[in-house]
Symmetry: C2
Subunit: 652 residues, 2 copies
């Protein structure tokens, strides 16, 4: 692969590669989602989730803490964590992307945009006032620790917060052109650059990666090479026992030597996103190889069917290979987001379709489950099973949706990904346009010095038909439209202007090379027949089970659809067909999948010991009866009454 | 059942029922383990574990903290927990029981006894010096909190520590007759009685139960009824939201209304032990019924095959019904001990054999795994699986044995149970003697005003033969020798004086009623053929798996016995026979069980996604080869090199 021309690079969005970046692909030069599934979800994000941010940050104390640090309010610090500020920054990032989205010109749009701009500017002013003269900014340490700094790199989250400040500032600058927050962020980055590094006061790094990938973005936005160098320094110091040597803090083994992902899932993935950023900007082969190796290891051994990662509640850890529990799947929503961010960087770096396969799976399942259908409550953990008789612990790790968390990292993280989602849909490589995700909208790339663009129309994932229309094409040269054929797809057809098309399948990419003319129509049809899926036999947790999937969606059973009993005794009959049914009335409009099943005969409950000799006389009670199973998309679970849920269904 | 005569009650041991106790059974009037399996384990406890206690408590800071509280040393408080003192008390309890064991009259015994007495007396003096004038004693609060008291009932552990102090004092008094520690404990108990209770300064209880069962023992030892009343008050206040309402602190639901065990496993079980104590002393039917109901629910839905309980690392929680993970089984050693303590109280209360079935299973498996074969290192958690590629977190929750823990609750808890184990072997009911566990030794009970006694000889569980000889019998009346037939046993024979005996099986008890004469010989033979065991189908974690058991022992595979590969791809062939082999050279002498198996064909590792459509072409690699499986007793695992381990074996 060769570096692509930066000439027509996109003007906004995350991962805006630097001019010398050495990647296979670059972000689309323009991208807009205008209808369909994701548009509806983004409308909820724009109209419900994001506008409520300021009042939630006020009531949780985050804005109060900024005022305390600025000396403009009195009282005690509120909140339990040194990273309270990061919630504010993530919301600012989400709101900034959103401001860039809201179409001006309509009365509704103008008024919503103005409200949001007012909130963002007000909160940016709070942040600026809280910053110390030398650029340092962390309300927890300023208010509760008498200004102590960088004494607890393992847990202090000072650079983590700086990273989210930088990300917010870059987003604000890219989306609005505003420089106020960028000035604050740059001052903090400059301060960090005076303190950390070889021969400087501190040789170390933050226990929670984030500043690394943020500094690369700041380099991209400002052109200042020293931010890239500082990011490289931080990435390289991990894994050498510098801050204690724990896997939790990504300090046990250097990335370039690691054989599998480990430790705190979000920390690992943010670090890997930074490594991919560095490999993109510098072309370092070893760092790229580490990313490829670790991504393969993660997906092959440590990823749940939903794309969720992180098997342990304890230390939010990845867990061991093939240790993928259902009821105790941690699958933090933030880890799903981090996985998408890393995978997108790897997709651009390598050009390989599999990274966007995982992005699709994660977006539609383990990520989207994190927000309720109304956009007003959240899941921090995303289990694949809730048992009959579950005693919910409440709190952040509840299996019930919660209005806000004590550790509120996930909600504004969801907001910022949804608000910038169009930038994960398409890319360009100088020779054409790649469509990574299927969504109704418009996407452009570049071929040499010319713009190429398509519009897309689809009700995906409700149906598998995607119609693309060429909107812009130079007309004087061939270029390639590449469509990702998802890993889950076993059958597809493609037609150009109504006729079966000659297209080659290239490692997940369907390549259509033509001298395209505006108005040409490409019809892709992916077979959406519901299917049963099984796991590698080493995934002990789901031995003897199958899952229902349809298109990119993982399905689950919920107790609400199976009155008169729980779900722990349900068995699916895999010899009977699955049936899909559109249910516009249900859960905001879903396609359900029906299957034949039964309630199993259970051992007599009167016996006190649940283990018996093989071949002993069966003490089972009377067999249970047949049961029609109704599965709903996993992303929509926990939007009705409390009850049990399961993704993996025993077959006998 | 009717209350039994207290006339000839045992003079030592835990659970020394009060004179008015209303139980089906009472502890044996005398009990001694003199040979065989448990004798060997107790010798290690007596000669390695217990004697090292004082130096470990010194190096961990516990004794230093006592000196700080007494004002006889200077420096910082050492250790991270408010319950540092309880480690000292549990060791004192263990050492006290041990002093009562060591046979005087031999040079070795006299010298070991003198050493231990010297250590115990020295440490009791430290404890007495640290006590405050009004009886209060907790070094954490005295040293680090400026004497603040009872402000944090959820986490303070002040009454928890008081409970272990009382248990130690009762043990010391029963085993040695010494009153020094009893005076300290009584003063603390009297202080607590002035502070806690209806109309007193504090209406509440300690977040970690322990003082409740200890106060019942103090009542038994002193005859002071108000200790029993205080215990009843504490037990009754649980579950009413008094200290926050969490299941973790046993404050979510009152015991008398609870349907299943919940929350922190050790806290739940110590509380239930106290409830059984109260029901024993008061005869309260409702509390007894709650114990029976919760014990049934725990064993039927929340107990691992090893007897281990507590499914979650997070909050050390019981987890949901049938949520019994293997690799993340918490199964804290202390929870196994607490389960034994509760079950023994229920066995005495009800006379039912099943409680001692669980005790046997727990002792031989999930408890004994907590201590290394040499008695010098420990496991805090007792998982049922360690995966290939496991990244050990180190620390207290390591799957590798550790010399001592930061939270060192388990090691001295193991010591005290092993040192008092003979008191869990036999009981009496006024009409005969019940043998609950099979161990070489001597056990006596009472029939009316007469003593009845047997000696037992057995190599159990290496072999299934137990020979009992009547040693004492009045000769003028019939009495019943009851032998527990374990729940795992599918076939047994019994002979009296060489002839097949007429005995009825009564709900787990083999009843032999005779006018016994000294010298009569009862031969019980339990079939020790190795067997395969499966779980209730709702235990998702082990679907499609079997476990190997032999007698009361659960077996596991360890990587050390299967060179050339891991264990995650191993399959057992259940159609081929199991073979037992005595291996005196291995792991201190064990019986191994061999089985036929193979390494399974695995999906191609090059593929990145471990989930595939059912019926898709199999992408498996070449089939693995046959593999002879060698299983070792679970209690002996983790005594060789690090490596994977598993109890449950896939069958296909």
């Amino acid at each position: 692969m060769s570096p692509t021309s930066p000439a027509l690079s996109a003007a906004t969005g995350p991962v805006l590669l630097g001019p010398g970046a050495l990647t296979a692909l670059r972000p689309a030069t323009s991208a807009a989602i205008e209808g369909g599934f994701w548009h509806a979800r983004r409308e909820v994000n724009a109209r419900a989730s994001i506008p409520q941010g300021p009042s939630l940050l006020e009531s949780a104390g985050n804005l109060h803490d900024l005022r305390l640090a600025a000396g403009t309010a009195e009282g005690d610090f509120r909140g339990d964590y040194p990273f309270m500020d990061s919630d504010v920054y993530k919301w600012l990032e989400a709101a900034s992307w959103q401001i860039g989205q809201i179409g001006p010109g309509t009365e509704d749009g103008d008024s919503r945009r103005a409200d949001l701009v007012r909130d963002v500017d007000r909160i940016i002013a709070l942040v600026a006032e809280a910053q110390q003269p030398d650029g340092y900014l962390n309300t927890w340490f300023q208010v509760t620790k008498g200004g102590e700094r960088y004494k607890d790199l393992r847990w202090g989250h000072e650079l983590y917060c700086a990273g989210h400040l930088i990300q917010a500032a870059v987003a604000h600058h890219r989306a609005t052109g505003g420089k106020d927050l960028l000035r604050v962020a740059t001052r903090f980055a400059d301060h960090i650059d005076t303190v950390f590094g070889p021969g400087k006061a501190i040789d170390g790094f933050d226990g929670h990666p984030e500043v690394e990938t943020a500094l690369v973005e700041l380099y991209r936005e400002t052109g200042e090479r020293r931010y890239l160098d500082l990011a490289a320094y931080f990435v390289d110091r991990h894994g050498h026992g510098v801050i204690g040597g724990e896997a939790y803090c990504q300090d046990r083994v250097p990335l370039r030597e690691a054989e599998n992902v480990e430790g705190h899932a979000v920390r690992q993935l943010y670090l890997l996103a930074a490594a991919a950023d560095l490999a993109s900007e510098t072309g370092e082969a070893e760092l790229r190889a580490a990313g490829e190796r670790l991504w393969q290891a993660m997906t092959a051994t440590k990823t749940h069917l939903t794309g969720g990662v992180g098997a342990h509640h304890d230390k939010e850890d990845f867990g061991d290979p093939f240790e993928l529990p259902n009821e105790r799947a941690y699958c933090e929503t933030c880890a799903a987001i981090a996985s998408v961010q890393w995978s997108w960087r790897m997709a651009l770096l390598t050009g390989e379709a599999r990274y966007s396969d995982l992005i699709e799976r994660t977006l539609f399942n383990g990520f989207l489950s994190g927000v309720s259908l109304d956009g007003e409550s959240w899941l921090y953990v995303n289990p694949l099973q809730v048992r009959d008789g579950h005693t919910d612990p409440g709190g952040d790790h509840s299996a019930r949706r919660t209005r806000w968390f004590r550790c509120a990292c996930c909600p504004p993280n969801i907001m910022r990904l949804l608000a910038s989602l169009e930038h994960y849909v398409a890319s360009t490589d100088g020779a054409g346009l790649q469509i990574h995700q299927y969504a109704t909208g418009r996407f452009s790339g570049e071929v040499g010095d010319a713009v190429v663009g398509v519009s897309a129309h689809t009700s995906y994932p409700a149906a598998g038909a995607v119609v693309l229309t060429v909107e812009e094409s130079p007309g004087d040269r061939p270029w390639t439209l590449s469509l990702r054929i998802p890993e889950w797809s076993s059958r597809h057809t493609v037609r150009v202007d109504g006729e079966a098309a000659d297209a080659r399948l290239d490692n997940g990419w369907l390549r259509l090379e033509r001298e395209w003319a505006p108005g040409q129509r490409i019809e892709l049809e992916l077979d959406m027949t519901p299917r049963l899926t099984r796991a590698d036999p080493r995934v002990d947790a789901v031995r003897g089970c199958v899952a229902i999937e349809r298109g990119p969606l993982v399905y689950c059973l919920e107790q609400a659809d199976h009155p008169g009993g729980g779900l722990d005794d349900v068995v699916i009959d895999v010899t009977r067909p699955l049936t899909a049914e559109e249910r516009p009335d249900l859960l905001g409009g879903v396609t359900t999948v029906s299957a034949a099943g039964r309630r199993r005969a259970l051992p007599q409950t009167a016996h006190w010991w649940p283990y018996q000799g093989v071949g002993h006389g069966d003490t089972a009670s009377a067999p249970g009866g047949d049961l029609a199973l109704t599965a709903v998309p996993y992303y929509a679970w926990a939007n009705r009454e409390d009850g049990s849920m399961r993704v993996w269904l025993p077959t006998s």
